[in-house]
């Protein structure tokens, strides 16, 4: 008995019989990241059961995709993970290109990496800032948005939009970079690098932040695999999978010649030398703190990748290449491709029937699988831990509900 108590400190014996209460957290709730509805079965402050209800943002995106040409559907992918729309564009474009057996120019390849990684930083900044909000601190959110604004400014220069870009498209990009953009991007990176330390001070190493996240919502590697978790959630549990390295050849070929190490937490081991704060003593592999920290590591990793791609892009001679026609006919056959998006492995499936309109379009959402594990993590936790756990999974409802 004492051993059980030692293992789980949350097992509390009650002298008084108390009643359970069903509480709706969401869909209108400050910390459910959009329109997620969580039904909590609570006994006092303790959550005995948590069930996510989804579908409040369902817009039939996949069905719409079966009535539009492949390129026309690009704006709909923007609205899936709207925090990383470039990565969504990229995933769908690569999938259709796989079906078409089309390869973009070398210059376009580097530009795609540049843009996608820049958007990954923006997405992780939102994830980090919003996580601070979930834990009751407001300032890191605005610190993160300060830097995100600059990324959005850069992306706006590229394509005119700040959130739904539709920039990366089938066969390349809608336009080349404006003059002087690379210098501005480099200037941003130089300014951004020292700022990361501020985030670590405000959140990562903050004593209260560590108390709220360390050893909370521990996701074992086995459970992570069972539930199909991907992305930073999976890597936070110490499983070394990153599709940019381990994915299909059409995707990994993009990153050929790029030096990067997968950001994964393995017993306090960090992928490369950088000024990282030490892992706090209380933190356990797979807890909220590790999931958060993997994202912070990926921000640094993306910065490295951007620097490399800037070099390679500027060395590339020749034209960027025009994207494919809006009514490009799709061959008979199907293609499925998963890419490493900021939230995890986002998959697109397309079936062509010889016309320009796909016969079937499907999307596999990473956040959907990541959210599915939340009830397991929240069992027996306190109410205050629910935002802490759900926030660490960094779900985006646009992607889950599509």
């Amino acid at each position: 008995m004492s051993q059980i108590l030692d293992e789980d400190q949350r097992i509390i014996e009650f002298d008084v019989r108390t009643d359970e209460m069903l509480v709706n957290m969401g869909p209108q709730h400050p910390s459910t990241h959009g329109v997620l509805r969580l039904v909590l079965r609570t006994d006092g402050e303790i959550v005995s059961e948590m069930e996510p209800h989804i579908g409040y943002l369902h817009r039939c995106a996949e069905k719409i995709g079966e009535n539009l040409t492949a390129r026309q559907w690009i704006p709909y992918t923007d609205r899936m993970d709207y925090l990383a729309a470039m990565n969504m564009n990229l995933g769908w474009s690569l999938t259709v290109e796989k079906l078409l057996r089309y390869q973009v120019s070398e210059k376009a390849r580097h530009l795609r990496i540049l843009i996608a990684e820049l958007n990954r930083i923006a997405s992780h900044l939102v994830g980090m800032g919003a996580y601070g909000l979930d834990l009751g601190t407001f300032s890191p959110f605005l610190y993160a948005f300060r830097e995100r604004e600059k990324i959005l400014d850069l992306l706006e220069e590229v394509c005119g939009a700040r959130l739904t870009y539709s920039y990366i498209t089938i066969g390349g990009m809608t336009a080349d970079l404006p003059p002087g953009w690379l210098q501005r991007c480099e200037a941003f990176l130089d300014q951004f690098e020292p700022v990361i330390r501020e985030y670590h001070t405000l959140l990562t190493t903050n004593a209260i932040f560590v108390k709220r996240t360390a050893n909370v919502g521990v996701l074992s590697p086995e459970m992570a695999i069972d539930y199909g978790c991907t992305g930073p959630v999976l890597r936070g549990s110490g499983i070394d999978i990153d599709l940019r390295r381990d994915g299909e050849s059409i995707y990994t070929a993009m990153y050929d010649g790029y030096a990067f190490e997968v950001a994964v937490m393995k017993d306090g081991h960090y992928p490369r030398d950088h000024e990282y704060p030490a892992v706090p003593q209380d933190a356990v592999l797979g807890d909220c703190w590790h999931r958060f920290f993997v994202r912070m590591l990926e921000v640094v990793q993306s910065m490295d990748l951007i620097r490399q791609s800037i070099d390679r892009y500027s060395q590339c001679k020749g034209p960027l290449g025009e994207p494919l026609k809006l009514i490009e006919k799709l061959p008979k056959g199907d293609a499925y491709l998963e890419t490493e998006c900021p939230k995890g492995q986002m998959g697109f499936y397309v079936v062509g029937d010889g016309t320009s309109i796909p016969w079937r379009v499907r999307a596999r959402s990473s956040a959907f699988s990541n959210l599915a594990v939340a009830p397991e993590l929240c069992r027996g936790c306190l109410i205050a831990d629910v935002p802490s756990v759900v926030g660490s999974l960094d779900v985006v409802m646009g992607e889950i509900d599509r």
Binding site: E45, F138, S139, L382
Partner: protein
Amino acid sequence: MAEFLIETAGLPAWLSWTAIAVLSAVLILNVIAGGALVFIWAERKIAARIQDRLGPTRTGGRFGWLQSLADGIKLLAKEDLMPDGADALLFRIAPYVSFCASFCAFIALPFAFDVVGQRLNVGVFFVVAVLGLEVFGVILAGYASASKWSLFGAMREAAQVVSYEVPLGMCVVVPVMLAGSMDLVTIGEKQAGWGSNWFIFHDPFTFIIFWVYYTCALASVNRAPFDLAEAESELVAGFHTEYSGLRWSFFFMAEYGSMFLVSALAAILFLGAWNGPVPVSQLLGLSDGMAANAPYALRLLGCMNLLLKATVGVLVMMWIRWTLPRLRIDQVMTTCLKYCTPIAAAMFAGVMLWQLFLPGGLVAGSFQNAAGVREGWLEQSNNQESVNEDALSDIVPSRRIVEVSR
């Protein structure tokens, strides 16, 4: 003041006493309301600056200094909403209970020597006790709102505030012990002179216990990182989820009033009350060091001194709020029961022993007042009857002043 009216203006006693009471109440109410306006504006500006923003810039010309007033007008103009399932009476009463508790505590709070609504010989006790009543308003609000989130907030508040009363009480007892009186005015008087006479510098234990007091005060007025009762990321808005408009603003005023109150209490108990770090007036020969004989202009300066100290305390609370994440309920309780209470108890014992063995401080003569404090304490404890008499005579405050100046 009342005597002045009776003797010079020839007004009847009951009228002059009532007039003075109303005057004091209006003044204090304005201190709270005006203070809340200033503090809300300050909080907006400070939060903005901490977060690399500008905050309000336009309302009222420069710096958005009229922003709080504009907010107040907006709140006044809002529709008065009440949930269908709410307990109408309790729902309506709750904000006023909270506000009244915060307001009443100001009655016994001296702003300078003799500048006090009602001087009480149990001032410390009164302020802490009445401030504790604020939790009733919160519990009523949470219960009457017919919302589960509100109920959670209220239960958290109840558990938290009741727990933190224990270490808070222990911290408050220390200056009482040093001054030998529960009268806030006397406690302030004992810290006159150089800054080294302030109770925070009395000995190492009081220095530590000041920080414990500040932490507990933060928790007892529900400010971050202890703002669990409203925890917007967990409980939507906690106990005031269903409140809007003017009723909501009363909770807000109560919160800011309490913030100012605990900061002012910290200033009086530990930071030399209305005495500056350098006894300027005494050095210039304007007063003989006895506040009772000092001219009224000096008391006004004393007011400024106290307001400044209390404001710094409030600003630090804002600084903390916009920097730290929120604790979890079990961690809040752990902080109270495992850290604050034992530390406060140990420091309490430490101060007691210090008083017994080193009443004059480590270097003899460096704490001029310390010996006097001890004498005063012994004298009072030997003279139990006169203390009891004081308690009775407190109904008429003017006689107390005579006592002190004697």
